[in-house]
C-alpha cells in the first residue's frame, strides 16, 4: 500500500510543479508582450524616422498622426522625446539638416492629432480633438 501511496504523491507533486510553472510562464509572456507595445517606444521611433524621411522629400508633405493617447511630446535641436505619465521618457535622435529652421515644440496630447508639414521647412502642429 505504502508504495502505491508514494507514487500518488509523486504524481501530484509533478502536476503541482507544472501548474506553478505554467502560471509563471503565462505572466512572463504577458509582460514581454505588453512591455514591448508601450506606446512611447513605438511612437518616438516612428515619428523620428518620419522626421528623418521628411528631410528627403523633393515635394510638399502633410502628415497626420491621429488617435494619439495621453503623452507629452518635445522636439528640440535634433531629438524627439515622448513621455507619458507612467513610464520613463523615450528619445530618438534624428539627423538634422541645418538648412531648415530648428524644430522646437512642446505639446501635451490628450487624444489629439499631430500634424506635420514639410514645405520650405518642417512644422509640427497639435490639432485639438
Amino acid at each position: 500500500m505504502h508504495k502505491k501511496g508514494d507514487l500518488l504523491i509523486e504524481k501530484q507533486l509533478i502536476f503541482a510543479f507544472y501548474l506553478i510553472l505554467a502560471v509563471v510562464v503565462y505572466f512572463m509572456i504577458g509582460s514581454i508582450a505588453s512591455e514591448r507595445s508601450y506606446f512611447e517606444d513605438y511612437f518616438v521611433r516612428d515619428l523620428g524616422l518620419t522626421i528623418d524621411m521628411l528631410h528627403n522629400s523633393p515635394g510638399k508633405v502633410s502628415i497626420e498622426y491621429h488617435g494619439l493617447s495621453n503623452f507629452n511630446l518635445v522636439t528640440k535641436e535634433n531629438f524627439v522625446e515622448v513621455r507619458s505619465s507612467k513610464n520613463i521618457p523615450k528619445i530618438y535622435a534624428f539627423t538634422r539638416d541645418k538648412n531648415y529652421v530648428q524644430l522646437d515644440y512642446n505639446f501635451n496630447f490628450l487624444n489629439d492629432t499631430l500634424k506635420i508639414k514639410k514645405d520650405k521647412a518642417i512644422y509640427l502642429e497639435m490639432v485639438k480633438k
Partner: protein, 237 residues
Amino acid sequence: MNKKAIFMPLLSFFVLIILTYSYYELVVKDVEDKSSTIGLNQAELVNAYNKGIENEFNAEKAVSHSLNSAINEFSKNGGVNGKCNNLWKFNSDCEPDLEKNFINVFTNELLKYGYDAKEIKINDNSITIILNDFTYKKELKNFNLEYSLPIAVRKELDIDLNKLNSLKDQVKKCLEEGKPLNTCTNEKTEVQENLMVFSIENNKNILIYTEKIETKKPVFVFKINTRDTGIKRETVF
C-alpha cells in the same frame, strides 16, 4: 520502484503548449501591435516620392513627344487651323496667330498622354509648361499622408517661331502698304493663280513615331489669296 514515467511526457506536452501560446501572443497577435508597424509609414512616404519622380519623368517625355507631333501638325497646317487649308487670312478664323495656334495643337497632343497643362508660355523660342501638381494621398491606420510635387517642364522649341512671326509681320506690313508680296521676303515663294505659296524648311530635325521612326525637317507651307487677304488695302500685281 518501476513507475509509469509521466514527468518527461508532461514536459514535452507542456513545452508544446507554452510555445504555441507564446507564438500566438508575440507573433500572431503582435500584428496589431504598434511596434510591428514601424517602417510602414516611412515606406509609404518613400513610395510617394518615387511616384512623384516617375510622374515627373513621364511628364517630361510626354511633353517631348507632344512637341514633336505638334510641330509636325502645325507645320503641315501652315500655322493656322486645319480647316483653313493652309490659307492665311488676317482678321478671320484663319488669322495666323502662330503662338496661340501652336499652343492649341500642342495641348491636344499632350492630352493624349493624359497630361492637362495648367499654363503654357512661349518666349524666346522656348516653351514652359506648368502641369497640375502631382498629388499622392494615403490613409493608414493612424497615419494620413498627403504629398504633392509641382511639375513644370521647360524645353527649347525645335521650330523657329520667332522667324515665322517676323515673316508674318513682314507679309502683313507688305499687304498694308500694297507692295507685291514676293518683294517683301526672301523666303521661297511660288505663285499659283491668285495664290502666293510660301514654304519654309525647318532648321531642326524632329522625330515622328508611327509604325516606324521618321526623322524629318518638316516644311512649313502657307498660302495667301492675294484677292482675299483680310487686310483692307489690296494689291494688284
